[in-house]
Assembly symmetry: D2
Homo-oligomer: 399 residues x 4
């Protein structure tokens, strides 16, 4: 297992989270140089994390001879340029979410790295939360049968930095900020080979005086018939609500990544310090998480990225995934305008074909069994349908 | 406060729940006569609940000289006839949900009781759960600001009786069975005077070999801009999932009515007896509710109905409400077919007009304040928007 | 089923809760006259609840010709006198918890009502919460095997009325106020026929400048070997913590009656109104309960009391139970002083004898089976003990 | 930051957890050689984890020239010998919990490493769970005021390996296995400088046919007046219950480390695979944890140990802590026999002196303020005590 030296581009909240992860615990990888548009922020960041060098020249960072890997933690509108420079330098590049401001931009980035033949990873942390990884494995192992529905929700009172609020720089509002997480979580559960067919989306700007949506709900229909549902908002009150629910033909999964993780604190005030990302209060009942960078997936994400580099394989989350996410978001924005289901337009589908969710009707004496229930006395109650007449009857049989 | 003697029509699960409620605790009201289509079931029901008389003639029950109130717990396709008979007899009538199989049928029932001038109550129990009643009061008191979004979810593995599965008798599938609850819960939170404008709905039949939907998700847009979202399913695994979430501009409400109410039991098996409606297992971790008829709203529902009768006022849930619910469900079914937003068609709107959710932009030195955050050092971080250029900037000021 | 007219003695918080219950929902029983030591409070109480008459003469209330039942909601030091007067009047009497300030006083009250032959009920609401009633039935049905341990916890920031804080009037501090609940909950789970043998208790006065304990933890050993553990405090921060946990040889029960019942609200402040008994905050995350008088057991408690009266049977909670509770509290106070296990002294034991919790050792080839585990491959791993040498070994066998 | 090569002694469950942690994520430290008493288990372990060498000779492992650190994951009765050998080899040594079978043994180990001057860490993982670390920091920052009570609970259906059940090899039963965790968790919350004064303990053997306790409850009184309460059991049903509760004068902390961490799964059976340590079922509702080695503290534990080595400082958990834990367990065993409070006997106290929990009485007009409550109308209700008479009164004042 190799150790990697990182060129970190960007010194915002996400740069902090990334570096905290890389430099945390017994990590073998270190940030070698940090790039910031502001000399002051770059220097402060470097001091905060013990990074040998900081620069305001992005090429200096990317092409640094001691840098093995470029990590992009910049605002959305700067991704394409940074990726192009990393590809030109022949360096592996890991880019934060969303990949592009729209699918066209994302496609260009995808083509850039593929043309250059550099390793490219899509830093979608929330697909790597330990709960999600374990849940996806359980789903793949058949624990809940076939997935019929996934709800992914990310809502909070709004982002911390000014650029997030400017749709010209980001590509949109809450969808581009938060929906990208939800979409890729959903894809991991319904299966990445399960083609997203179309999207229905409703958006609104309810609270903030901005041009872009601060609320959105969307349905994504996949080839198998499974539905992905995302709910994103910059108007949620009470902290950061980060929950996923998965329904299958034989089971159910509920995950809460933030506000209810088994850690509850009441304080009359004072002394609590930093509780959690986007906490709204400092007194009363608070709900911290344990190790944020672990529970939000950063630890497992970088592990997968660097192991993939070591092993010469693709990481779990690739630029193609980032591109698909952008394509789904584009469809969502089109749908919000047209107020109709809009197809997900992909220049190329790299997944396979996924069969329709199966419902194998069971027969009993020529009748279709709709349901079986165990009665308190041990007998079974059946609900049967006559295939000829379409009539339904109850029948009780020995258990 | 008067005592009422009830003519109970129907001996299914809902008849049991209604009678358990009426005869429970220190109730002053009693079932005087029960009607069943089957003599055997009628007699068994009567014995089970200590009811003096049972009959297979619906008129005998409705017109019984000792009966003060008619309660309809019959399958959907029998509501209209029963209501007509009760109205003809001049008796107050309480009808289970949904009122009709569609809005047209519901409208006829509404007109029947209004023409006859009889008291009519819509037995929508889930709008009366103690949690919902308290939450609605809190919302009305301003605790969460203006309501922006309500999610109401009712899912379980499918109904217990054969007729539920036959759309010809019910009017549809999971929407007509469960969505009616969700819609009226949503209306209570967004305000009953808040006109439902249009609906977008997706349905599918994923698991059961039936003609109607066993899964549905819908968005309802209200005049204020608030969105109601319902999720209903007959394919959920793990019991009965009954949850409501309400978002407002200044707060949040989460309610779990069934699977997570602070009552958790692990049993290696045996001896547990009846745990809860639609529980799927008898061993392992189980999640009973305390007093089902109280927690599901039956107790407060009948209290409101009879008090309304006493006081000569309308109950909280009226036939007009039932009609509106049917009209919304009709729009949902139309939308599922057209795959487009469909208007909610009402022959008459009895609510008023509800203003758009307000977002009062705050100004500072001519800039629009997008967000305020308290920094750890006590200073405030503002995100500001320049109304002229549309640019966003961060600014830190003294706390 | 008869209707009862109540003489309510006392107008404090508990009088409100009792009357809210009696006059709530479709109750058939009504408060006919209320007694208060203060004319003003009596009149206000009467107006609040629509009670025809109020008085400052306790005899007038008790002996009122229209009063069927006397309900005592007075401070502890006034119970004995009120019970004596009710017994003298030959009236059924229901007395709030704790019965006496100590066992000797409780024993005199028990003997008073038994000598007079009047019906007497011990108003221990928390043994009647719907969750507890269902859980006790599950335990009695064998769902968790034999009960080994019960933890009952009631803690909050301290009582609302001055007299509670004066040990001379109450008999003690947090134990007498809250421990009485816990003890009787424990007895319901371990079985009321299961003799409490001895008590070990630790008390302290940690926060409030009072002479009595504001914190206590105690262990009660029952004849079967089961342990009851109570934790009571007047120093808890965050509201009212009301939880019970029951462990059995084949299962586990966890109940949360107050702060986590599936009702969660975040409010930025304002408009919430009354949230719950002993809530500490009005903003931030709040945890209301639905119908307090139902969830805290008042509804089922009065139902049992009046049904018992109707049926000429003893209620679930009797004065003898109240006496046993006092005797256990006396032992707890003695233990806190002696710092040793103290016997529970009962002038008479009306339960039977309860056998020791059984542990039937299973044998395999002359070895004692300590544990069986299913391995991932379906085989079984056994841990065996050689009865001769006392040595333990692992053995894996086919599943 | 250095990389360490480990000599791992022991190949049981704890050896797997340790190695999974060390070899997990981007860890820089690796196991170089593993010692097992069984050649077969040693070889299998080595293959499982990609360890270059395995041996059945403990000295070979300890003295291996490439080994930087010795990690002891052996049964309790083998700790002393292994520590002596590591000390003789002058190697840093990390030893699993409990340190000794009793305080005398633990003291000898402590003296051995101190005499040899080798670095020694006590591998008490549950003091390092991310939740605990954050909670302890919050407590140290004053978030809950002064700690008054800590409850630590660890219960499950019993250990997986035969030797755990043999008190001759372990030093006892559930206390020695599980209580050691709870005690050190408690010490971290009340403050390690807060001297444990005495212990009251109740033990019983309720379910398993063994000589040692399978259930225990104990109270530990600290110098400040704080009480630590531990509950340990090998008879719990439902998985592994791992919870801590902390009460302070100004706040409350509740932590659930295992069965309720925001990850809930229902499965009709099949396909779930490994869910969690000590899960009891494979169908129905299951409650996995995300990343067990992170959530159970192993990751942060080794990070602290190796950083301490790097920095030449003592780790958070030292052999002296292990010794204190053993001394408290000894007192617990003595108390269970004597049925009285037993002093904690320490050959040397290395903490300081901790003042009694303070209760600063507030005065108002010469009266002691017992409690303040805000009334719904904004006024304040005070409960006051007259210091002369000891009488209590209510007084309402402007807010």
């Amino acid at each position: 297992m190799q150790s990697y030296r990182i060129a970190m581009l960007g010194t915002g909240l996400i740069g902090d989270f990334y570096t905290m992860t890389l430099h945390g615990q017994r990590g073998r990888d270190t940030v070698r140089i940090v790039y910031s548009r502001s000399e002051e922020r770059g220097r402060a960041f470097g001091e905060r994390w013990g990074i040998p060098e900081s620069t305001t020249d992005i090429k200096t960072a990317i092409e640094h001879p001691d840098g093995d890997v470029v990590v992009i933690g910049l605002p959305n509108f700067l991704h394409e340029e940074a990726i192009a420079a990393a590809a030109a330098a022949g360096k592996p590049v890991l880019c934060t979410k969303p990949l592009g401001r729209n699918a066209e931009e994302a496609r260009r980035m995808l083509e850039t790295v593929e043309r250059a033949g550099v390793f490219a990873g899509y830093l979608e942390d929330l697909c790597y939360t330990p709960k999600s990884l374990k849940a996806v494995r359980a789903v793949q192992g058949g624990a809940i049968g076939e997935v019929t529905w996934v709800r992914s929700r990310e809502t909070h009172p709004g982002p911390h930095s000014a650029w997030f609020w400017d749709g010209r720089l980001t590509g949109g509002g809450a969808i581009v900020d938060l929906g990208c997480h939800c979409i890729e979580i959903i894809r991991n559960f319904v299966g990445k080979g399960n083609r997203p067919v179309e999207v229905m989306c409703h958006t609104d700007t309810l609270v903030h005086p901005i041009a872009d949506e601060d609320n959105a709900i969307a349905l994504i229909r996949f080839e198998s018939g499974a539905i992905g549902q995302f709910e994103v908002s910059w108007t949620f009150r009470g902290g950061m609500d980060l929950r996923d629910e998965v329904a299958g033909t034989h089971g159910t999964i509920w995950m809460n990544h933030f506000l209810r993780t088994g850690f509850e604190m009441f304080t009359a005030g004072g002394g609590g310090g930093y509780v959690a990302e986007k906490a709204e209060t400092e007194a009363g009942w608070l709900f911290p998480v344990g190790d944020e960078v672990s529970e939000l997936g950063y630890v497992d994400m970088f592990t997968d990225m660097f192991r993939a580099l070591d092993e010469g394989r693709a990481p779990q989350e690739t630029f193609y995934d980032g591109y698909v996410v952008n394509a789904i978001m584009d469809a969502a924005y089109r749908s919000a305008k047209s107020r109709a289901w809009e197809p997900v337009e992909l220049f190329e589908w790299r997944g396979g074909s996924t069969p329709r969710i199966t419902a194998q009707p069971e027969l009993l004496d020529g009748q279709v069994v709709i349901k079986r229930e165990i009665l308190p006395d041990g007998r079974q109650k059946l609900i049967l349908k006559d295939p000829a007449t379409g009539d339904f009857v109850d029948r009780v049989i020995a258990g």
